[in-house]
Each structure stands twice: as C-alpha cells, then as structure tokens.
C-alpha cells in the first residue's frame, strides 16, 4: 500500500518524506533516515526526555510550541507541523540560541547525552514564556523540565540555565513565515488524509467512517502508550488511525454545567481546563507524567487505553465524568467507571471511538482532592491514586464520589467507601469507616511499585488525609510542603 508523504517545516524549509511505514517513529526518521543524530535515544519509552524535540502547530491564528518525545511519536503524526530539533537552534553564524548559551554559561552539560533534550525543553519554555515576556521561575522550570532526566548534574545548573535564558540577547522565530508555510501545507493536505496506511482524518464524520471501514486499524490518540508497543513490544501495525487531527475532538467546550473535553485534546490542555475550574488540581496535573508526554498524550487516549494505573481516571470518576462514545451509527453516553469491563477491556464497539469526556463544573460546597502515591514525585506512575469528591449539607455527606487507581484491574469507583459515607455526618468516625471500606473493597496486587499491604494501608490513610484537609489542617501533604510557609507564625 502506498504510504502518504509526510510533509513538515524545518529550518524554514519544507521536508517531504515518502514511503515511511505507519509505525516508524519520529526519532527513527530523524536519526536513521535524515542522519540528524543530535537528537538522542535514552530509553525509547518517553521517560527520559533525551529525544525531546519541539513541534509547532498553527492553532487559533498563532503558532503553538510543544516539546514532545520523538522516540514514541509516530513520524506521520507531525505531518503539517513545524519541527525544531537541537540542530536547528544555532544561528547560521554558529551563534547559540539562549537555551543553548545559558546551558553553557551555567555548566548545564556534563556527559551531554541528555543535553539535546533539555535544550529543546528549554527552547519550548523560551517560546512559551520568555518570548512572551513571562519570567521563568524556578517552580516553572522544575515543572516543565520534569520529563527530562539527567544523571550527571543534579539539575541545579540546568534549573539555573532555565532562569538565565531571559538575561541573554533575545532570539526569535519568524512565526509569520512558519505560519505561511504551514498554511500552504494545510491547503495541499485537505484531501489526502483518508488514504493509505496512516489515516489522520480532519473531521469527526471522516473519523467515524474510517473507523467503521477499518476496524483492524490501530487507533492512536497521542501514542504515548502505543508508542511503547512499537519500541518495546516490537508490534507492527499495518494501518494506524490517528484521531488527534480531528478538529471537533480537539476542542474544549465550556458549558454552564459541564466542560466537554474532546478526546484528542492533549493532556496539557485537558488539565489546564480542569485546573481552571479546580485550582487545587494543579500539582496533581503536573505530576501526571512529564511535560513532553502531556504535550503528546491525550485525555481520550488515557481513558480509552484504560490502564489500571492511568491517573486521569480516578480523578474523572470522582468528578462524575461522563464519556461520549461515537460511531457512524450515533452517540451514546455513560459514566466513566462503566466504560471498563476488565483489564484493558472496555465497552467500545469495533466501529466506535471515545469522542468526548464531559466533566461537571464545580458546585458550591464541593470538596475535592486527588492524591497520588509514587516512588518519585514527578513523572512517575501511581502505586495508589485516590480522588475524593465530597459535598456536605448541614454537616452530612450529601454527595460523595471516590475514584481509585492502582488497586484493581481497572480504574474503579469505590462504591463501598462511598456507601459508608453517604448520608452520614462527616466526622472522624465516618472517615474511619470509609477508610476501612476502602481497604476491604479492593484486593490490590504486589508488584514493583508497592506491596499489596502497603497499597491497602495507604488507601485508607489517604482518606484520613482527606479528612484532615477538610478540617482545614495545614502542612499535612508534602506535595505542597514549603518549610518557610510551615514555619510562618
């Protein structure tokens, strides 16, 4: 089958690649086909960031910059975008970009192997913050570099470099020129997306028609997990159906009673939408993988993939999220927790896709927290995840929804713990009952992340944390712990 040509903009020029297999990664194309070896492979699974590149996309009239992991990104998915790699930043005269110069000045490279990835994350940060006149705080630098691992420096000089960038002479991208090129690409592209082994439809009707026509195609929605099936499990796909270019599914719609998040909205944007309504989720959002994964991965992908340790689902369950499943036959809506039927199994029909995630807006009196326990604070997978959403009326639990991850074969709703609370006065005793119910209703497994006993104990203890937080107890969660604040009188 003739493969569609991939076209993208790099160094101000149009790059055109033919006959690229649908499951070939962007990193393979860069290093093996284009002989651009500046971008490195550290892990091949999106966890170390050595392969970070920046994608530019025309969004709402402007150019949106996103640092992503090229090792698990399918090459075809960047069709119609602009690409920057570490080789593309220095000027023609060899003058370094501020992201690079700051790294040199601050001694941010030792062995240098992670450096190209850090430089590209810094470049993304530069375009998204420094170029817009926003300062880079240490906190921001830590957040945006959490998907890049360095084994040599201990990070301090790299964090310094992030803050040093704005002190250096400005460097700018000719965005108008890039946008013009992207526009030209989009014109050429309009018709061709429904052909070949890599299908990337631009509209929902096209997507649903293709889904029905090619039930065997591997659906991808950001590929941050499926990418590992390629690199680690060595799977090969004859046909790939990429939902991330479907215009309708890339929208976040804010209604009075709900936010509807399209299945192809990136995790970065989806969490922005959730945090806008519920600022207390900011840290939880930042702890979801690293930025390059959140920039590629989608909320719909996380939900549809249905990993028992996916972190968005316990939260969405607690929020009372509804899923909209769509096919050419029509749409249906169901609560998220009813979507899963077993380990990585769900109710999707062969011609169906997850289209929307509908999240209720907060109501007055809502008390919501989401907790994640992992070995490392950032960019790790939960041993246990617990999200609790509670509303009291006259001191009595009027509404409660509890989502849990890492404790069963699927993300689950803690129905027994909810029952232990619903209609009861919100007290320490009620908390104990809910904690006991949580411990008894799930039988977690022991694995490399934690033992079953630990998971069980902590599930209940997190309910205790929730109780303390509901009572206004400060400084009881290390996630937000600052010594200076804790010591303030």
């Amino acid at each position: 089958m003739e493969s569609r040509t991939i076209r993208f903009v790099r160094r101000g020029e149009l790059v055109s690649l033919s006959n690229v297999p649908p499951d070939r990664t962007l990193l393979e194309v860069l290093r093996e086909d284009l002989a651009c070896t500046g971008t490195k492979e550290g892990c091949g699974e999106g966890d170390c960031g050595a392969c970070t590149v920046v994608l530019g996309e025309a969004r709402e009239g402007g150019l949106q910059y996103r640092a992503i992991n090229s090792c698990i990104r399918l090459a075809h998915s960047i069709d119609g975008m602009a690409l920057w790699t570490v080789e593309d930043l220095a000027g023609a005269d060899g003058g370094l970009h501020p992201a690079q110069e700051a790294m040199v000045q601050c001694h941010g490279s030792q062995c240098g192997f992670c450096t190209p990835g850090f430089v590209m994350s810094l470049f993304g940060m530069y375009q998204n913050h420094v170029a817009r006149g926003e300062p880079v705080t240490r906190e921001l630098a830590q957040e945006e570099l959490s998907g890049n691992l360095c084994r040599c420096t201990g990070y301090r000089p790299i964090l310094d470099a992030a803050q040093q960038m704005e002190q250096l002479p400005r460097s700018s991208v000719d965005e108008a020129a890039v946008l013009q090129q992207l526009d030209a690409l989009a014109q050429q592209r309009a018709q061709a997306s429904a052909l070949g082994p890599y299908l990337a439809p631009r509209s929902l009707p096209d997507l649903l028609a293709l889904r029905a026509a090619h039930p065997e195609a591997q659906v991808v929605a950001g590929c941050t997990d499926v990418g590992l099936w390629v690199t680690k499990m060595h799977k090969q796909f004859g046909r790939v159906l990429d939902v991330t270019r479907v215009a309708e599914l890339r929208r976040v719609e804010r209604h009075e009673d709900r936010v509807a998040i399209g299945a192809a909205v990136t995790l970065t944007e989806a969490f922005e939408a959730l945090v806008q309504d519920r600022p207390q989720l900011k840290t939880f959002a930042n702890r979801f993988a690293g930025l390059p994964v959140r920039n590629s991965g989608t909320l719909g992908g996380n939900v549809a993939n249905g990993s028992p340790i996916g972190d968005s689902m316990p939260l969405l369950i607690a929020l009372g999220a509804q899923l909209v499943l769509a096919s050419a036959r029509g749409e249906r809506e169901l609560p998220l927790e009813q979507f899963y039927t077993g380990y990585r199994k769900n109710v999707l029909a062969p011609d169906e896709v997850v289209a929307w995630i509908r999240v209720p807006r907060p109501v007055p009196g809502e008390f919501l927290r989401a907790y994640k326990i992992s070995k490392r604070f950032d960019d790790d997978i939960s041993a246990v995840c617990l999200a609790v959403n509670l509303r009291l009326e006259d001191g009595v639990v009027a509404h409660v929804a509890i989502g849990a991850g890492g404790v069963a074969a699927t993300p689950v709703r803690a129905l027994q713990a909810e029952a232990a609370l619903r209609g009861r006065p919100w007290t320490q005793d009620a908390t104990r009952a809910a904690a006991a119910a949580l411990r008894s209703e799930f039988q977690p497994i022991s694995d490399m992340r934690a033992s079953a006993a630990y998971r069980s104990e902590v599930l209940g203890n997190l309910m205790q944390r929730f109780w303390l937080e509901s009572q206004g107890q400060q400084h009881i969660n290390l996630e937000s712990f600052r010594i200076e604040e804790a010591l303030a009188p």
Partner: protein, 769 residues
Amino acid sequence: MNAPEKYLATSTPQPATGASHPHESARAQVAGAATYIDDIPEVKGTLHAAPILSDVAHGVLRGIDASAALAMEGVRGVVLAADIPGDPILATFVHDEPIFARDRVEFLGQVVGLVVAETVMQARRAARLVKLDIEALPAVVDVREAVKLQSFVLPPVTVRRGDPERGIAQAPHRITGSLDVGGQEHFYLEGQVAYALPLEQDQWWIYSSTQHPGEVQHWVAHALGLANHDVKVECRRMGGGFGGKETQAGHVAVWATLAARKFRRPVKLRLDRDDDFMVTGKRHPFAYDWEAGFDDSGRITGLKLMLAANCGFSADLSGPVADRAVFHVDNAYFLGDVEIVSYRCKTNVQSHTAFRGFGGPQGMIATEALLGDIARHLGKDPLDVRKANLYGLEERNVTHYEMAVEDNILDPLIARLEQDAHYRQRREEIARWNAASPVIQRGIALTPVKFGISFTATFFNQAGALVHVYTDGSVQVNHGGTEMGQGLHTKILQVVADELGVPFHKVRISATDTSKVPNASATAASSGTDLNGRAAQFAARQVRQRLAEYVAEKQNCRPEQVIFAHGQVSGPDAVMTWEQLVDDAWHSRVQLWSDGFYRTPKIHYDKHTLTGRPFYYFAYGAACTEVAIDTLTGENRVLKVDILHDVGTSINPAIDIGQIEGGFIQGMGWLTTEQLVWNDKGSLSTHAPSTYKIPATGDVPEHFRIALWPEPNPEDNVGGSKAVGEPPFMLAISVWEALRDAAAAARGDAQVRMDAPATAENVLKALRG
C-alpha cells in the same frame, strides 16, 4: 539562582587552572554536535546485533532454536558460543564469566548469543523469537539466603584488630542491628554501545563507550585469539559511565566484534534500555548485621560487623568492591577493636559491578547507621556521637587496615558546616515543630565523608599521556583517561595550557585511543585527573623544557630563566610569541612532542591481609540535610542541603561543584527512590525508567548549597587538587540518616530499622515496624 556568581562560565583567563572553564565539549553538546558512538556515520554494509537473553534465572541450557528468527526479514544469522574463535571465557581477572552462556544459564537476562540483521529493529524483533530450551534449577536471588547456603563468588574476608569481643562485653552499652541496602542501576543516559569494524589482516577497530579502552582491547583480542596489537579501541566520550562502563562495556564490545568477525561486516550493538537493565550489572546490594559496645559518650569500644555483598552470578569487580567496602566501614571514625567479616555472595542475578564509590558507600552506611542508633539509644544528638568517634590527629589515627590518617581535617570541616548550616538551632526548631505537627515530621542529619583515593590494586595507579605541539603552535593532548561527562578532558586541557603558558583554546584533546597511549588503567576510582593530569603535565613539561633549553642556548641564559605565560615566551634578551618560538624550534629540529608517565608514590598494600597504605590521600566532606516524611504514607522529601567538601585547590570550581552536586543527587537517588526489584523468578521487574526512578528536577531542594574547603591537598598532587568523582556520592548518607531521624521523631522511640532505599513504603514500614 543558586550558583555563586564566580562559578558562572568565564572566558579564557591565564592561568587556566582554577578558572571555571565550561566543559570542553559544552558548545558542541548543546548544539547536538557532540558525537557519541551511535552518532558516528555508519560504514556501508553495517549490520546490527541484538542480544538473545535467558528467560530463566538458573538452569541447564539444553538447546537453542533460532529457526523463527532466521526466517525473519533482514536477519543475517545468529552468533553463539560456538562462533568464538578464542577463549569462550571473558578475560576477566577471575576468569569465571562465559562470553555467551553455553551449557547453563545463571541469571535471567544472561546473553546466550546475538541475532544479526540489517536494521536494529529487525535484529531486536528476531532476538525475541529465538527459543531457548532451559531446564530450570533452583535460583538464589536474596543475599542473606546466599550467605546461608555459603554461595560465594570469592572466599570470605575477615579484617580484625584488637579484641572486639572484649570491647563489646565490657562496654556499658551494647546494641545489635541489621540492615539491607539495595543496589542501584547506573542509568547512564547513553546505553551500552559498541561498533566493531574489520580492518585488513584480521585487525579490528572498535568504537566503544567505555571507561576502560585498554581492557576492551584485551578482552576483544582474547576472545578472538589475537594479540592486543591487533585491536584498536577508541572512545571520544561516553554519555555517562558512573562505573557502569568499566567492565560492562567490554562484554558489549566483545559481542559486537564476534558478530563482525562472523559476518565479515561492521557490526553495531546498541542495547535497548530495557535490555541494558536486564543484562548489565549494578551497584551491589548489601546486607549487614552488627553488634557494638560503646561508652556513655557514644564512643564505640568494640564492633563486630558482617557485610554480605550480593555479587550476582560472577566475580567481575566484586572482590575489589567488597574490599573497598571493608576499607570504608570506618568512614571518618576510629574503630579500635573491630572485626569485619565480608561475604562475596553468588546469586542468580546480573553480575554487580563498579558504581561510583565502588563499595565505599556500602561500607560507610553501616557505621553511620550504627552511630545514629547509638545516639538515639543514649538520647544524644547524633552529631555529638559522630564527633566522639572521629579519627584523632595524634592518636586514634590509624585505620583498621593499618594506614595512618595523616591529612585529617574532619574536626574543623564538620565544625564549620555545623555553624554555617545552623545545625544546632535547626535541630531545636525542628523538635519544637515536630511536636506540634500531626502528620509531617522533619528530620536533620550532618554526616561526614572520608574517602580513600587510589586504586586499591596498586599497579593500576599509573598513567600515560602524549602532548603534540604542531608547527602553528596549536597543541594536541592525548591520554589514557576517558571522558564520561566528569570534565576530565577540560581539566587536562587547563593543566597543559598552563604548563605551556598558552591560552586554553590553543589546546585540543583527542579521543582516547589504545593505539596512542597503551595499557591505560580504567578511568575509575576518582583518579582520572590525579593520574592522567599529572602524566599530561609531565609530557607538556618535557616539551617546554626542550623549548626552554633551545631559547636558553640562543639567549645565553639558563633554561629556568625562560618564562612561558600568556601565549608568550620570554628570556632575558627577548620576548616572542609562542607560535614564533614553535616555528623557530621546528626549523631547528627541536622535538615538539613528548610522552609523560606518572605513577602514584607512597602506596602499597597486602591484598591477603588487607593492610598497608592503599590510598595516597583521603578526600573529605560533610553534608547537612533536612528532610520531611509523611507519617500517613511514608512519602518523603529533601528540604535543605548544605555541603562543605574538600577538593584541595580546585582546578575547575564549576566542574568540581558539578561533581559534588551530581554525586550527591545520585546518592540521594540510591537511598530514596531508586529501587531494584527482582521478582520470585529472579526477573528484574524494574527494568526501565518507567519503573526505576532516578531523581528528577522536582527532587532537588531549592536550598542546595555547596562550599569548597579552602586548603590544598597536602600530598603532592596535580595543581594541589583532590579527586572529586566519587566522594560526594556518600554525602547523601545524610539524607537517609535525616529520614531515620524523622522516623525516630515520629515513633518517639530509639530503634529505627529503615532499609534502603527509603521509598514511601520502606519509610512507612520503618514507622510501623
């Protein structure tokens, strides 16, 4: 920003040493232009290899069925033990490790052979299709079980001084304790890789990401049945090593070369990250049991300590690693009456190997744990108990291996850090805060490091270098050390630039290459700059001496009167540029290049009794770390770190601080988030960064301050400097001791058994246990 202004990169001052030059490759690294092995343009016809791994931890290998793999597109064939022309056993010191598993497999992940194909992915896919017929045998994974079974790769070693039994029996206080400390994956960002190219007349050019090109050369020659001179090994840089590419790179290079020999084609072998985890050795996990007696001040009067090192299936470097653990049980403390029993256990896991500290961290942590326990037993501040046990200057100054500690700065160094970090005030404040805090408990610890510098095997402490001055005055230096990010090449350029009185940019380094400087030792044991820096300095000095003599003859003065500085050469009569002099000298047939050779003085030791002076000097440091733990979940965070470290006179402060910070954070990872888990089948289930968590940006405390001790190395060492690669790693023991301090506060109880790493689960267990 945290960086002191003075450590920001500077231009090119003279003298070059003492300045914070950026890493010599920094500008190339940030532009993606620094070449690693997998970036070298491939020679036409290059094939790719992937390893076939045992899927059983221990068993009889009855057959290998590669038919499915051979039928795959692009596959050229397999390489098995039968394809080895030379000795099928690797040329390791103990000679106990087969190149490819033959009749038995001894760990899950052991390499049985290779699949060779046209592309990397073709080879990797096919390698999984090779079927191994293995009859499983009982496997030993746990080190304590290995001790029980007397399963050893090398015989146990006992070091004893005085009468520890009496010291314990007569002491007013006694405690016993046990501890298990996990291993650590190196997680060099660049995985293991080698690229083998056939040359004419059965000679070989091997690009290897290795800390020890000379050993790779020797191993490859041995496996191929060739002489060393038939093999040239080259390494421009590694993307991280940390000890993990000291011996482990050799396997990969041997495998690649065997494939290249069989198929008469260049072959590249780059391990996938998960395979790298499964195949290569890691830091040795250790288990400890101790019994100690001590007086009212907490001073140890007798200690009996058992250390069991989990060595994996073969000896590799386990002997010297376990020796170094024995040598560092004392850390900064005088152990008068002591018995240390060291077991080198054989288990059915990867063969554990060198890793920054090389057993030193595993030796020190036991005594630091003991001192923390003693302090809590007596209700004393652990820092006071540590101080009570420090080595003295005139007495109590001889180690348990009979080496006098002559350069002891522990007392003033600790005192200064204690003051600068406000240790006492903070301890009081933390105690008050903890008393009022329902869930979070904080802890603090100040721990010292004394680390012996030199390879314990005395003969390794030698190095060579070449300095070439070209007719245009540009200089090239080559030496036997390798660059893994530690800044060795940068420091050597600084040393050579100053020796010749030329600006830094006049000097270039070239790739480490066994055909330039032969028989070089591994770049390991923190010794890279000490050994190779001196060798390069001597080489440059000889060139300078010849030039000085040439000028002296012309200007009728003594050579010592000729000054080389700032790119100029001045005698009593005339000043000329360096370039002018070089051009003149060349026309007058003066030799403009030289070798240099260095061997460390004073050192000796008896490997049977483990006594002598194994170390030229000690490097010192101390860290004060504050942490917090969550008593509901065991989660923990490092809040503040203050470090005072001794690098002598720094050749490059920015690089030294980089080593201190990087070493500390790596040590913190070892003791907190980095957990290796083998399941009951002996399979390593944490084999990728998704499951094995090294520290990330968010784990670094904002308050992370490093100060350098202001005195030069009292021993005659290059530039008055001290080695810095490994010692700071062990400063991170302060993190773990602070966590135990916090746990003790939470428990309100003296006994805290907290196995390392202190994951949330292990901390919660320490609170409940």
